[in-house]
Symmetry: D2
Subunit: 391 residues, 4 copies
């Protein structure tokens, strides 16, 4: 993969900015209200090639460098967090295919994505396990003739019912641990062994639609298994996942801050005759939000820029720094945006309250704050330190 | 007004705790989802006498002391923030009647409350004005034969359509400022000059139902005016309003923390075999939440205990301290509750995400953070300092 | 012990306030500069009876209740942190005598204090151990004919060379743990087996003079041992120690804040013509300092008021709450005092920079922040939780 | 001025790192204790060319680009804050000469620096004025035959008695404001009209030696005046000054953090058998310090890298961002370093307590926090916003 030139990257970001402003932003409130996946946005993304950000060029994809990739995710999140997050999850799923798939599997799935606009999901969470605490998967995969049988319940199944393939994390029966037993099964959405469970009615990130799913004696063909046992972990895509979360948080907060600054520039209350942006206390608060977000932005983009060049074993603290900085900044900034804009900004007609809900929800995704600080600390102390603790 | 003995206060709080646990808590999610006023709760409160917390005993009310009053509000907020907030607003409105009403007015309105279970609302906000910045009212009240005519739009009209009387803040035509012109008109909900405007679809405090209202050539009889020009401000009920907000924030956060502690005591994730409350990092976070909220509680209750005994001119910093401490603690604690409970707590089936939304919304009510800190600072510096700046 | 009436307490505090203002405050800078124990202050304290705050009335002491005691410590700390801290340590040492001493020992040591103005020190720290991490003592006490022989190095030996008796924490040879082996030996300062080691040149709390000490084949008579093995821990004086630290932090910060508020009221810079206290941003900062310290004060005094009435096993979280709240508030407030007063306040001619150093130094004393939050958290979770982990 | 290549910059930084480690660090405690300017360090800096960082190459200087310049300052500060700060002030003074001096003046003063190892100081502060509030100078400069006469008191006169020339900010008699009247007089240290006033005994930055100075009918020749009236402000060196402060704060905190991490890697307390760096809570705290400082570092170096390329009018928010981020991070990190290292780190034998004092002192230099946040906020709001308010 070659890096885009700054100009090429800028052009790509301009294209996504236009899509975000013209299409995604106007639709965002309705997706949120209805807790519905942004399928119209996916259609737009597909037509512009963005469903194939991580698909190799040989298969018709854009195959952009990490800095470009995370920039695109951030820019989309400014307008619609759920679109950015689900595109990111789909893109990580295509990365699994690129890293673990056989040539035949790559041809098959990439054609679906590039030509058919199909989406891939990737599901790991289980009800009895907290991935933010221990990254462990227990859904058993039992070998049978010509394939495997999958049983168990997953939750937080993003894009359930909308993606065409669900890349399901599971554990090879009899394996001792994740390193030797974790597997990835690409289950077609229409496999009769899958059913969607429960509802998805949450604080934020509502348009990611991530209910539960049940696999009941679900047959998976041999050629629907991606990579060898343990391959899903060794692939390093988890690091990419975490860094993309950071980009999403950053983008949501940037969108909220942009709105807030504009609100301060244009809103005047009686008996004052100038906009509230002329009030020194408002300027002070805007300054604090701006520098808070700018600092986090520098951390996230430094990690994104370094992502390709460091050893895979070094990526964990890189991701932890970005995700931690983005988490803290995004929570602080979206909380403050509501404070600065005041009571009027609590209405759903304005986008800041959605940003506030989306940030608080999305930042609950693993790894959690203590885990990240531990990883950063061990790295600073010269101790080896992965962010995730695998079961 | 005599203070209750500790035992009487405890008994009263036990009664409200039972109501809160048995009736308000189970209904809270539905009121929130539907953005509907908790009318069934009002019925329960009425039957138990709690609609008359601030109604004089001579008129059949409970007439409790401030410490008891704010305690009741806090306890209700643990289960349902909107119930606590609207009861508080109604109770402040009854306080206006007690302080500004003629004997005839008191008899009339208190009978409606005590015998009829009727609610009083109090509306000050206007679209062109930010009360968190300058406390100014511009809705004009024009004297005519036998009364006045009221014109103008209000917003944040809590309990619109549910209260029986709207105590509308307005400005006597030709008056120079609030001190000499602010008036309070008790408009019956069925006055044909009133209409409800717009929608109420907000981040939180959704069951307070506070849309806009329009007064179009709305006739108000002389005997529907409460007190002389400026009386509404001189009454000091604004201070009571602010301290009640603090009690609401505290209660919401306490409810969220209680849930979170219970969650930590009872939730175990694989591969661990003990509840997450045994994890030292979880204990540390619980400790931080507990001491944060305990500190704020001591500040709020100190202000409540001192409220009756200090000069009215001294109440402003008292209220500012309570509201500031409760605001900061409630935001920090509800944000952290979601962090500690993790992704599962973002679901609307659990009460923490509602607490998070309610706190962020309710804490936007005036006075704002800078105004409160200014008032506390001026008091510390020996400068006179009201929290509100009147226009 | 009976509680003082509010009037008696106020009178006592007035007396200590006068001593603090007239004697301690003017001397504080010199003690700090010279890192010398405030012996002239001890003389004043003795004459007024304050060396006997915890000495039983039967022995001529004041024997004040905990609330009064911690108030006195706080008030002294406003003027001179080292005087408050060393008086507190002496008072805890007298408490050991009161709780563990035989009638003969009590008579002996209390006479020295009450009539002779003698000071008692109490030393636990060792170089190889961090009491903030594990409360463990390893200095061995070997039984011999007629007594014991003590060997080992201690550090942080407050009042070394100034106190007349050093109450040395040691471990009975062969004992398995602190609960069954920790002992307290009252070594006279002129015992030839003791020598003072090293220097005391620190950031702050310089007038506590706490260098190292060496015990080399130091003979201790049987009747110089206080209490049975483990008694020193079971006595619960450690809790009293921690709560006194909190009172010291609070007092230092209060002194710094009082100075700062006065500075803001009286300092004018060109081209302004009013003192900086009229600047809204200064008022905001003063407000933040005031409410921060007020909140901590309420926590500390609530713990002090409850100290006598709760079970000893419940004191640990009580102390942890007070010490944590006071630590955070005192660091924040003294840091901010320098910010508000500006560059001029960094000069040693003004007392704020000493407060800043004293707070940062004193708050390093055990238990540390994580230990305290853990204890508060376990208490909130209903788990038993002592603040100290005994080795 | 051309930028150094990354390799040249790295080589230069390696040279300064060696000087810092071998010479400056070992001497730092003594300079601090004695409040004495680091004259031996100046000698070392001179021999290696570092007194001429901002001297044009045509005059024998290094004339490095801003990124290199601020990096050098930061690296020195890791070992000795006062050396970094005074070198920075001297370098800004040489910048004044480069920007405002006539060819003859440049030749004269640069020869003194390059060949003679002489130092230039620059003094603006006055007792009646707070530059952190309003940047105003009132020391009058009265025109007389052949020159001017200077009268007035300055304070915070860094390197008084050590620098060879004092560049004194003064106000041309009769001028209306700073823009048209501020002037810079290069007064030789041996001018009989100058005398040093008062003492320099401060919390930190003690080796910058910045007492007061008095100018009494001090005659200044025409050719000792640098630039036209107002030139000293228009030169933009104030921005350079502020950005250098940020580099100093960053360097001090980095030095303290490096020490702390090393301490955690190598210190073991009984009864544990591994260094405290293996404790998850210590790792968490180290992680928090590391990411806090890393974020600030990215902000400071981004401002340094952009400094040369932006318009002078744009530099103010650039500097405000760097100084604010460095201030907050350095205070937080040095405060936490003492917390992590514990009571032992309060001793003056270890460098962390000096870092703590130096940071709190140096961060009091103008512009202050509110001023910086205001400048950042106005910039974010699209309002023009200089950090300094000129009188």
């Amino acid at each position: 993969m070659e890096s885009l030139t700054p100009t090429e990257r800028r052009d790509l970001l301009d294209r996504i900015d236009r899509l975000a402003a013209d299409r995604f932003a106007p639709r965002a409130a309705a997706y949120d209200r209805e807790a519905r996946c942004p399928v119209e946005n996916y259609e737009d993304l597909w037509k512009e090639g963005f469903l194939a950000l991580n698909v190799p060029r040989a298969h018709g994809g854009l195959e952009v460098d990490p800095l470009t990739y995370f920039s695109v995710i951030e820019h989309i999140a400014r307008a619609c967090a759920s679109t950015a997050m689900t595109l990111h999850m789909h893109s990580c799923a295509t990365k699994f295919v690129a890293l673990l798939g056989t040539p035949e599997q790559q041809a098959r799935y990439f054609a679906e994505v590039v030509e058919g606009g199909k989406l891939l999901a990737s599901w790991a969470s289980e009800t009895q396990i907290s991935l933010t605490r221990t990254f462990l998967v227990s859904t058993p995969l039992r070998p049978v003739d010509g394939g495997y049988v999958l049983n168990g319940d997953k939750h937080f199944c993003t894009m359930a019912g909308v993606a065409s393939y669900y890349l399901v994390w599971c554990m090879l029966e009899g394996a001792a641990d994740m390193a030797t037993g974790a597997m990835l099964a690409a289950v077609p959405a229409d496999n009769p062994g899958v059913s969607i469970l429960g509802e998805w009615d949450t604080l934020g990130m509502r348009a990611t639609v991530s209910p539960g799913a049940r696999f009941a004696e679900c047959f998976v063909r041999d050629d629907e298994i991606l990579g060898p046992p343990g391959g899903v972990i060794a692939s390093g895509v988890l690091d990419m996942l975490g860094l993309g979360y950071a980009a999403v948080y950053l983008g949501i907060a940037q969108g909220a801050l942009d709105f807030t600054l504009d609100y301060c520039r244009t809103t005047t209350f009686k008996p004052q005759v100038t906009p509230i942006g002329h009030d020194p206390l408002i300027q002070r608060q805007c300054g604090e939000m701006a520098i808070t977000l700018d600092s986090a932005r520098l951390v996230v983009y430094r990690s994104a820029a370094d992502f390709a060049s460091v050893e895979q074993s070094q990526r964990s603290p890189l991701v932890a720094r970005a995700k931690y900085a983005a988490t803290q900044a995004a929570i602080a900034v979206t909380t403050a945006c509501l404070q600065v804009c005041g009571g009027r900004s609590a209405f759903k007609t304005l986008p800041v309250e959605r940003a506030f809900r989306d940030v608080r929800t999305a930042t609950l995704m693993p790894p959690n704050i203590d885990t990240m600080l531990g990883a950063i600390g061990r790295d600073a102390l010269g101790l080896s330190g992965a962010a995730f603790k695998f079961g």
